[in-house]
Subunit: 315 residues, 2 copies
């Protein structure tokens, strides 16, 4: 089991590499919920998402042999860019397997961070088999985006910073997709402040974590149809175990609620947040009656959204 | 003449009312300029702009008689909302004269902050005459948006916070419209750090401050055709005098450069910034060769931009 100590150790390891992201507040949102919300803005993190914390924590613990051979991931999202940057900062070679139909802007960004891109077909099978071939050939270390203790410990460091800055909280909210962020958040929050309730927020259109949590076994994520592209993945065995043990509830939000949350962050807080990042605010507004006069931490997970997508979703 | 002491006194007066806005950095932008830029993010200030600092500083110094009668401004922009909020926080009545064709969202926001809106025709003459009638009838105190020592001192407090946080700077950049922000910035910067160069940035399509600065007399702003709507005003006698004495140069930027700067702030820094607020970054990129290996403060003045306008300008 991952402990608070693991997260504190991760924090020492990554402290000088990450951005200590600001905690923001909004009097408008505080009025809306009749409570106090503290937004941990990981959209300001390196590569625009919390993922950098776990990636750097993981890559910095590789053995000399693993470092020499390099790392690999199959992802077209924030994990790919986070791993590419963390590896390049530590002088390690990174290979990213991406579907051939990935948006050019993501390919470019990952390349700019110094990674080698290898394209595959747009299926899970192709991604896995292309990655496995490369691992066999070059001895790369595969870095899983969330079902990995070091990734989870890295993700938890955001909550250490949040609690250090604002003190005790009644609730902490974070989005759940694969479960890396909410797992790290829960371990850090319960470790530092056992009375704090930890709430995962998930799009109703990708509610596999909710169903898994309620049923006590992992459901796959089948055809998730949500704009929160970072939350379409399913839980891993590691994250599922932590969530079952430490998360107090999972709240579901609609697509419309996600869009309204993005809009509120944009208009009132002047923050560019990706749909997955706005999900936790959507959850906060949904559970309004429970958080009355409470102090609530809200993890904003990332801000990587294409201008055109953003506009098409919001207007 | 306004002094550093006036700004320090203003800071004591407003400290508990304002948001101490974060200073942000971007490794992408630092790489672009081969220097270090520190962004003072007044888009996160109350009402979304630095204007709140000066408004609160001014309203909090009114005499009991003035407080009892209330304040007035003619504006449809950030000054109106800043004055409305500052007055309401201090229990003072505010009246805002707005052109009848003002965007509904601005009217609503100003009303939400507790002000009474009085509409006028869409001409300067109508605004002035409607305001004067109300002043005569009710004894309101007119709060000018920039040509006012208390407004200028309030605006300067952002630079006190910036320098306190990041230490000595080689340059400080701020946009210039009516000149309130750049005046306060210059007094604070030169007072705290005489070697710091103070640069005003202005849209080339509204270059009245530039021409006034070069010629040594105030030119009116005639048909300014810039998306930076906050910078269409002309200098006042007070701001002109300070700018002549303390500003080291005025840099002009094109509309395209302003749009590119907004886009960069959006995509790379995840910041929602209005065109006037992005002007100082446009200036920074324009004077790239001069700021090499320098430390530069960049004042981001505000973030109030309608979603649709934003998209239409950027895509």
């Amino acid at each position: 089991m991952i402990t608070l100590q693991d997260i504190q150790d991760a924090y020492v390891r990554i402290k000088d590499a990450i951005i200590k992201t600001p905690v923001m507040t909004s009097s408008t949102i505080n009025r809306m919920i009749d409570g106090q919300a503290f937004f941990k803005c990981e959209n300001f993190q390196r590569v625009g998402a919390f993922k950098f914390r776990g990636a750097f924590n993981t890559v910095s613990q590789l053995t000399p042999e693993e470092r020499a051979k390099g790392v690999i991931a199959h992802s077209s999202g924030n994990h790919a860019q986070a791993l590419a940057l963390a590896a390049s900062m530590l002088g390690i070679h990174a290979t990213i397997v991406m579907p051939e139909n990935s948006p050019n802007v993501k390919v470019q960004a990952t390349r700019e961070y110094g990674a080698t891109i290898v394209f595959c077909k747009n299926t899970v099978e192709s991604r896995v088999s292309v990655a496995n071939d490369l691992i066999e050939k070059h001895g790369f270390t595969l870095i899983h985006p969330y079902n990995n203790p070091r990734i989870i410990a890295g993700a938890g460091t955001a909550t250490i910073e949040l609690l250090n800055e604002v003190g005790t909280l009644d609730y902490v909210l974070a989005p759940v997709g694969g479960g890396g962020l909410i797992s790290g958040t829960a371990i850090a929050a319960k470790g530092l402040s056992p009375m704090t309730k930890v709430i995962a927020v998930e799009p109703a259109n990708a509610d596999d974590a909710y169903r898994s949590y309620k049923a006590g076994r992992i459901f796959p994520s089948v055809n998730p149809n949500t704009i929160a592209d970072g939350l379409r993945t399913q839980l891993g065995d590691l994250t599922f175990e932590i969530i079952r043990k430490l998360v107090d509830d999972i709240v579901l939000v609609t697509e419309e609620e996600i869009v309204q949350a993005m809009k509120l962050l944009w208009e009132r807080m002047k923050l560019v947040v990706e749909p997955s990042g706005a999900v936790s605010l959507a959850g906060l507004l949904k559970m309004k009656s429970k958080v009355k006069i409470k102090r609530v931490g809200v993890i904003i997970s990332g801000g990587n959204i294409d201008l055109t997508d953003f506009f098409n979703n919001l207007i």
